[in-house]
């Protein structure tokens, strides 16, 4: 909400499918090769060549359809989208238009603990275009067709998002999902996961406003900024008596603003028609079952299981299933710890996630192995170390100082749980602080805490605080 305005956002995401070869040719899809070294005769659109569909791309589309609970079309149709551009070698892009491979489905997001289901309109298969290189050619344009023909799944939502935060949550959830099911590497820098947002504003409950499509949102941070900027721009425009014009706008990260790319008036007539070079795409129930059998447990199902079998609160379950790497890590910790699910979740979502953020790595690349974290959880549970000591052990684990027990030993973090030793310390503290004892007996509860503090200090922090409490209470009667 911007004042009395509601933001309405829909998403179009292009996820590059992780096939080894292109969608209609046998050329490789690897990123970073020399210009035009991965372009076959088909990608170059030489006269006489024909497209042949890569079933690997179809399998990935099926997996996506299953993961979002969409309908997988038994028959979908490839269509030609006709327009001239130097990096579009055939003069048309092969896409799907009237009959896409997946319709419907939804993606679950959570913002500030509130969950929301974002409806998908469709997901369709298409080929990517090449790249025009405007630098380094002295006023001319270079064409690199390595990317031409790379398989894409374009995933389109209903206009269900209402804030830039929800938009980011959706983009992250989708980003996690496509990697979870192994259909896209999600590399945003290399363009494997590209988001365009359709943004409009309206009075709550009113009719939808005119939308602008924002392109070039290649990071979650840009996405949030761009949507906020665009919504503010539209609100200010309308409040100043202006009118939003339907257009495509480009996010400029340097200037932190969106600017017009092309207006609806310039919109091309793409003259879509079914591609006569390709048969309609037929998907049988057996094709679908084969993909279903190969799918990992999906985030939604795992989330339910974490709540049901592990007794975790919904927010923990949602956050733990935000990425497959994190979820797998958590499950490995619990398995090694032999239970203690809630404590494990606290560690994974607390110290461990903070560490991942700091190092900017995924859970599967973290320097703390699940077994080590599980041991740490156990050592807290059995009273060997205090919560405070455990944090120190964790930091040492992250720094690669060795195994949990060795660190506890080396750093002298073992708690004193010997009741005889604790009684000696407590006696000394009581003897040295008659004023506090008197205050406590006079009804000052705070004095008790001060005595605990003195005892902990005397033990150099090693005494088991629970035991100190117990002994103090007994002695003070």
């Amino acid at each position: 909400m911007h004042g009395d305005w509601e933001i309405v956002i829909g998403f179009e995401t292009h996820a590059q499918l992780s096939t080894v070869s292109k969608i209609f040719s046998g050329a490789a899809t690897a990123f970073g090769a020399g210009p035009n070294t991965q372009a076959s005769a088909v990608d170059l659109a030489l006269p006489g060549v024909l497209p042949v569909l890569n079933r690997g791309a179809v399998e990935r589309a099926i997996r996506f359809g299953l993961a979002v609970g969409g309908t997988i079309a038994a028959r979908s149709v490839f269509a030609r989208k006709n327009y001239f551009y130097p990096d579009l070698p055939k003069g048309y892009q092969i896409s799907q238009y009237e009959l896409p491979v997946v319709t419907g489905g939804e993606v679950l997001i959570a913002v500030d603990g509130v969950e929301k289901r974002i409806r998908l309109t469709r997901a369709h298969l298409e080929e990517d275009a090449g790249k025009s290189l405007h630098e380094d050619f002295h006023g001319m344009t270079g064409i690199d067709l390595n990317r031409a023909g790379t398989p894409l799944l374009e995933i389109v939502t209903e206009p269900d998002l209402r804030s830039s935060k929800e938009a980011v949550a959706y983009a992250k959830a989708l980003h996690s999902l496509v990697r979870w099911i192994g259909i896209c590497d999600g590399n945003m820098q290399e363009g494997s996961f590209r988001c365009d947002a359709n943004v409009s504003v309206r009075r709550p409950g009113g009719p939808l406003g005119t939308r602008c499509e924002i392109k070039n949102l290649n990071s979650f941070r840009f996405l949030e900024k761009a949507i906020d900027y665009e919504a503010r721009r539209q609100v200010e425009l309308i409040e100043d008596g202006g009118r939003v014009v339907q257009e495509t706008r480009l996010w400029d990260p340097q200037r932190g603003e969106t600017r017009p790319m092309r207006s609806k008036e310039d919109a091309q007539d793409y003259r879509y028609f079914p591609d006569p070079d390709l048969l309609p795409l037929a998907i049988t129930p057996a094709d679908i079952e084969r993909e279903r059998a190969g799918l990992p447990e999906l985030p939604g199902a795992l989330r339910e299981r974490l709540m049901r079998e592990h007794g975790l609160p919904a927010t923990d379950a949602t956050t733990l299933t935000a990425s497959k790497a994190l979820a797998d890590y958590f499950l490995a910790v619990v398995a090694a710890a032999g239970g203690e699910s809630k404590a494990c979740a606290n560690w994974v979502l607390g110290e461990f996630s903070a560490l991942l953020n700091r190092l900017e790595v995924e859970a599967d690349a973290a320097p703390v192995a699940p077994g080590a974290l599980a041991m740490l959880v156990k050592r807290v549970a059995d009273g060997t170390i205090s919560g405070k000591g455990a944090k120190e052990v964790f930091a040492a684990l992250a720094a690669g100082e060795g195994a949990v027990d060795a660190i506890i030993e080396a750093r002298g973090l073992k708690q004193v749980s010997d009741s005889g030793a604790i009684e000696v310390i407590v006696d000394e503290v009581l003897a040295a602080n008659p004023k506090l004892v008197e205050d406590y007996r006079g009804g000052k509860e705070k004095a008790f805490n001060a005595l605990v503090g003195q005892a902990m200090k005397a033990s150099k922090g090693k005494a088991n605080p629970a035991q100190v409490n117990e002994v103090l209470k007994k002695k003070l009667g």
């Binding site: 006269p47 006489g48 042949v52 130097p86 070698p89 064409i143 003259r271 028609f273």
Partner: protein, 486 residues
């Protein structure tokens, strides 16, 4: 030697009566002597041809030859041929050399055929008279003031003049059957999907199909055996067991039902052509076949439907010729749009530009439903008409072209009259069926007339059998223009 049929030539090669080098040299010599008058070839390469002939002779000497090994052939210049120019009869590709072979070219080369040259054609196969070629018109060997038909006019004329014993062609709306009829040779367009379109430069993808020209149905069966076959690189190629197109040739026609569409024998048909076709049907009846009247009620819609669908696909297929990566690029241009505009305006001839404009129009927003979608619906009705007709007959017979060869220039300024040249052939393409044309007499001015036979899907063997049995009893296919005698 050039008067022999393909099977006779194959027998001569196998018996070592002559070598492939001798045979190829003979045909190269004929091309050198006669093609100046016909212009049926765009490219001839004697060195490459003789090298291939030597390889074929070596193969024959090893006893590894097949029925086509050592036989000189020509390819229509839209089949990509590695190391040879493939121009499509267009300025756009005037100097383009394909880096790969079309599937049909690859298969025929593997069978041992000797490629002598690439034949002239209407630009991008768009035309029915071979006058739209950037390399000049082809002339009819029976009367060089007349057209050979099109778009595979170069192949038809070259076979008719015996400059080559067989040649490939493509048939999108009649581009094999109509020139075969006008040049007095046999020509077959197989079922859509029988010959791979890989390496065949596309005009209208859902209608294009490669086929062949030869003296007789028997020759066509031999070429088809070498040319057809499944190709995974063409998604519309049909994966069926290998076909022997000659398997049924010897069977007599007793009991065969020949469908005669009443719409084919109407006032549009020139009387001289009608007389020849009726005479041919009479011969089939004499051999024991039963003529049956059938109806193709949507026949009148075939030409208009075709001239929506074919240009629509062509407008998109020809978008790749943009002057960016290969082909003609204008010498002077301002911005990117100017590069496109000038390169395409200079590179494409008038007929190609006309069809790109029509195709772009019928696919445009607001017109798509009224034209393209409607045309696709009628196309299904046309296919259904054939399905109904084939319930009461085994093969359909009729004319291949509405008249004999016409003088150059007569129809070139009137596109609609030109389009009506394909009146009897186009519905076959819309339905995806096989069809052929064989010589069945001579009409006005002593010019050849073709009998068209249309078969059911993948029923080429039966269609070829009917043509072969007809040719056993007639000698129209053995008649030669004067030019072929010398």
């Amino acid at each position: 030697m050039h008067d022999k049929s393909l099977s006779a030539l194959a027998a001569g090669l196998a018996a070592r009566d002559f070598s492939s080098v001798e045979l190829t040299g003979h045909f190269l010599d004929r091309i050198a002597r006669h093609d100046g008058a016909l212009n049926s070839f765009i490219t001839v390469d004697a060195d490459k041809a003789l090298a291939a002939a030597r390889a074929a002779d070596a193969r024959l000497a090893r006893g590894e030859g097949g029925p086509l090994t050592g036989i000189p052939i020509a390819h229509k210049d839209l089949f990509c041929t590695k190391g040879w120019k493939t121009t499509c009869g267009s300025r756009m590709l005037a100097d383009w050399v394909a880096p790969y072979d079309a599937h049909a070219v690859e298969r025929l080369a593997a069978a041992g055929t000797v490629l002598v040259g690439k034949t002239n054609m209407d630009e991008f196969a768009m035309g029915s008279s071979n006058e739209s070629s950037h390399f000049g018109p082809v002339r009819n060997p029976w009367d060089t003031a007349r057209v050979p038909g099109g778009s595979s006019g170069g192949s038809a004329a070259a076979v008719a003049a015996r400059l080559v014993p067989a040649a490939t062609g493509t048939d999108t709306g009649g581009s094999i059957r109509q020139p075969a009829s006008l040049c007095g040779v046999s020509g077959i367009r197989p079922t859509y999907g029988a010959v791979s379109r890989y390496g065949m430069v596309a005009f209208a993808s859902s209608l294009d199909q490669g086929g062949a020209f030869g003296e007789s149905a028997e020759d066509l069966a031999l070429v088809m055996n070498g040319m057809a076959g499944f190709d995974p690189r063409d998604s519309t190629s049909v994966d069926r067991p290998a076909e022997d197109y000659a398997r049924d040739l010897a069977r007599p026609l007793a009991g065969l039902r020949v469908g005669l569409p009443k719409e084919y024998f109407s006032a549009d048909l020139a009387p001289d052509v009608a007389a020849c076709v009726v005479g041919a049907v009479e011969e089939l009846r004499r051999q024991g076949a039963t003529p049956v009247e059938v109806s193709l009620p949507n026949q009148a819609l075939a030409v208009p439907v075709y001239y929506v669908i074919a240009p629509a696909e062509a407008s998109s297929n020809l978008s790749r010729f943009d002057g960016v990566r290969y082909g003609h690029r204008a010498a002077d241009y301002g911005d990117l749009n100017d590069l496109y505009r000038k390169s395409r305006a200079e590179g494409f001839g008038a007929e190609v530009q006309r069809r790109i404009l029509v195709g772009t129009y019928v696919l445009s927003h607001g017109y798509y439903d009224a034209y393209y979608l409607q045309a696709q619906k009628v196309r299904r009705l046309i296919a259904a008409d054939f399905a109904t007709a084939f319930e009461s007959c085994d093969v359909i017979a009729g004319p291949a072209a509405p008249s004999v060869a016409f003088p150059l220039g007569e129809k070139s300024s009137d596109p609609v009259r030109m389009y009506l040249e394909d009146l009897y052939t186009i519905s076959v393409n819309l339905a995806g069926l096989p069809g052929l044309s064989v010589p069945c007499g001579f009409g006005d001015h002593g010019l050849p007339v073709g009998l068209q036979l249309i078969g059911n899907y993948f029923d080429e063997a039966r269609m070829l059998r009917v043509a072969h049995q007809y040719q056993l009893a007639t000698d129209w296919h053995r008649r030669r223009p004067a030019l072929a005698e010398g």
